[in-house]
């Protein structure tokens, strides 16, 4: 907070105005947007977190969801299936494409030893180019840009309007974020697979001894991570975007990575992180309008928050470790005295 304030002062703007805007109670419209955006960010962060939980740095969320969103929009636009079935098929396609693109990095890692950090960065660039190519050669003319064929009306979801219509609707598929969150949380914490994944993440050697096949785990977690990444833009696609084209929201993948780290890769932590990031982004608008402060300050705040929070985690972790040791010693000493 202090850092951000300093930056604001350096820029010659009013610190008071800045925090006023940031902490302003959001209007109904803002709340709808924050909810929708939180869902997208949450999915992105969840995708990143699955990899991080086993020390796999899937930096490629960006490319995975871009390619998946394009393909899903393309398939849904063809309307090969009626109404809701069309949605389901598109979701499956999105997951499959995201998984496949992430899987390339996974397979390269286990068979050729290519660091996933590098391969996913390269795959991001390649995904962007491939989508651009397909769009400009096979897309529909759309003003100065190109887009995929819009999805049929019967496959569009109206969403849920808690307030006035003009305040916007909460996308129906925000439910995907909830479902994915619960599923992944359950998968990681309650299942054998999740245990293997967490074990590999904290101590790969011990996991190997315990019978975990790390290579298989790497590929599977990349696939799951990619599948979730594939879902990122789906709430927006079926909630009003209707096609893949210029309004496509980029950089969610990178935001997701930051939020995953902020939330310590735990679904609940990620949830709060996603809401925080969505909130900050939503306030970027009034920031420029009301306080005349550049929206880039939001980015700085987000970065500083991530760094500050991880440093704080580390400090707390050290402190609790020391505390635990003291407690343990005290307990043992008491035992010794009473014996």
């Amino acid at each position: 907070m202090a850092v951000t304030s300093i930056v604001v002062v350096v820029a010659g703007a009013s610190v008071g105005d800045f925090w006023d805007v940031i902490f302003k109670v959001p209007s109904h419209r803002n709340l709808v947007n924050i909810t929708n955006q939180s869902a997208l960010i949450f999915l992105a962060a969840l995708a990143a977190a699955i990899g991080f939980r086993m020390n796999l740095f899937n930096i490629g969320i960006e490319g995975q969801y871009t390619l998946a969103a394009y393909t899903a929009a393309l398939v849904a636009g063809q309307a090969w299936f009626p109404g809701k079935v069309n949605i389901l098929v598109a979701l499956l396609v999105a997951m499959a494409v995201g998984a496949a693109w992430a899987g390339i990095a996974g397979v390269l890692k286990v068979t050729r030893g290519v660091s996933e950090v590098i391969s996913t960065i390269m795959l991001n660039a390649i995904a962007g180019t491939v989508v651009g190519y397909l769009l400009s050669n096979h897309g529909q003319q759309y003003g100065q840009g190109r887009r995929t064929t819009p999805i049929p009306e019967s496959s569009q979801l109206a969403g849920w309007t808690p307030w006035k219509e003009s305040d916007g609707a909460i996308w129906t598929l925000v439910i995907l974020a909830v479902l994915a969150g619960v599923t992944i949380s359950f998968l990681i914490n309650r299942t054998r697979f999740g245990f293997d994944l967490r074990a590999t993440g904290t101590n790969e050697d011990a996991a190997v001894v315990s019978g975990v096949e790390v290579k298989k785990m790497v590929v599977i977690s990349m696939l799951i991570s990619g599948a979730i990444a594939g879902l990122i833009w789906m709430p927006a696609l079926f909630g009003g975007a209707d096609y893949y084209g210029p309004p496509f929201q980029r950089t969610l993948g990178f935001t997701g990575i930051a939020v995953a780290l902020l939330g310590r890769n735990r679904p609940l932590g990620i949830f709060f992180g996603a809401v925080l990031f969505a909130w900050l982004s939503e306030q970027a608008n009034p920031l420029a309008l009301v306080a005349d402060i550049s929206p880039s300050i939001v980015q700085i705040t987000q970065g500083v928050v991530v760094l500050a929070v991880v440093v704080a985690y580390e400090v707390v972790r050290r402190w609790t470790a020391a505390y635990e040791q003291r407690e343990l010693k005290a307990a043992l000493d008491r035992e010794a005295v009473s014996a």
Binding site: T129, Y142, Q144, A241, P247, Q249, N285, A288, S294, V298
Partner: protein, 335 residues
């Protein structure tokens, strides 16, 4: 240099919206990514706004898009302005087309304008004006200039991104050049195929233009946004007698001293004119609606004469302009 700033509106500090107190129209101006101070599109819109503040006693608020923002953020920006009572509200850039289409029906009493915009659906919006430009016509004129100035019979074009908009520039430029010298050779390069970073990559612009100069071209026209400064530098490095042509605004005025002697002319896209027109129409009580094409006839596009390098050929260029205006020449909009 005061004079210079007035023309380009690049001086961000003199924020007219902070000081404007008139009782004219209340303007909401929503910039694209980069916002005021981009020395291009957004600044040009700002120049129009500034003129309106002066001439029409307008007051204003501004908003700015961030990179990778949600569609809802764009809509929110427009709604915030509408709720604050702004009229007209102008979205600067094609990217606002969808947002305006979504927001405008909720505010039937407010006029919206979208620079470079279009109506994405079949339902016509009664309160929206789509302010387009005949970039191909302007490009035709600088094509003529390039062909006339080229000693080598070989010229070049550098586009930022290989999309339909920039292809329109290319088409006009090539047509103008070929019409002037049928056997002229035109090198065409795009910095990026689809990635918008091609508009913000001066290093790429420099590489592409250098390649064309090395290959024998002696005039290079760019339509690559901020990458263009790289094109100018390439002309400087290529040496005397090598020219670059600017785009959107009169780039001679914002170029460095070293670049100035190499900037032959610029294709002007008068976003300021369109912005001012939109505001004025609301002030006059007869808001613009539907598609408005700012072509040569409307003085929406043109070419710049700063530096005086085209003075000797101006008559021939103007001749072409007249023929376009009269319809005698039809400028293609696709390569």
């Amino acid at each position: 240099t005061d004079n210079k700033n007035d023309k380009t509106g690049s001086t961000a500090n003199a924020d007219v919206c902070k000081t404007a107190k008139g009782n004219g129209p209340k303007v909401g101006l929503a910039y694209d990514v980069g916002g005021r101070g981009d020395q291009s599109f957004n600044d040009s819109a700002y120049a129009g706004l500034k003129k309106a503040v002066g001439d029409l006693k307008a007051t204003c608020v501004e908003g700015e898009a961030t990179d990778g923002e949600a569609e809802s953020a764009r809509e929110s920006r427009l709604k915030d302005m509408a709720d604050a009572g702004m009229n007209p509200i102008i979205g600067v850039g094609f990217a606002y087309s969808d947002a305006v289409n979504a927001v405008a029906p909720n505010y039937p009493d407010i006029s919206f304008g979208v620079i470079d915009g279009f109506d994405p659906d079949q339902t016509a919006n009664k309160n929206v004006a789509y302010l387009g430009f005949a970039e191909n016509e302007g490009s035709y004129l600088v094509g003529v200039a390039a062909a006339l100035k080229s000693k080598a019979g070989h010229i070049g074009f550098v586009g930022g991104v290989h999309n339909d908009l920039i292809k329109k520039f290319e088409a006009g430029y090539v047509a103008g050049a070929k019409a002037t010298k049928p056997d002229i050779k035109v090198d065409v390069k795009y910095i990026q195929e689809s990635d918008l970073k091609g508009f913000g990559d001066p290093a790429g612009g420099q590489e592409a233009a250098t390649a064309e100069f090395d290959n024998g071209a002696d005039v290079v026209y760019h339509a690559s946004g901020a990458s263009g400064s790289g094109v100018f530098d390439a002309a400087v490095s290529a040496g005397d007698g090598k020219w670059a042509i600017g785009v959107d605004s009169d780039q001679y005025l914002t170029a460095s001293d070293a670049q100035k002697p190499h900037i032959l002319t610029s294709m002007l896209k008068r976003v300021d004119v369109a912005t001012y027109d939109m505001i004025k129409s609301v002030a006059d009580g007869s808001p613009l609606t539907s598609y408005q094409t700012y072509d040569l006839k409307k003085d929406g596009v043109g070419y710049a004469k700063s530096g005086g390098f085209v003075d000797d050929i101006a008559s021939k260029i103007d001749e072409a302009a007249t023929k376009i205006k009269s319809g005698e020449i039809k400028v293609p909009d696709k390569p």
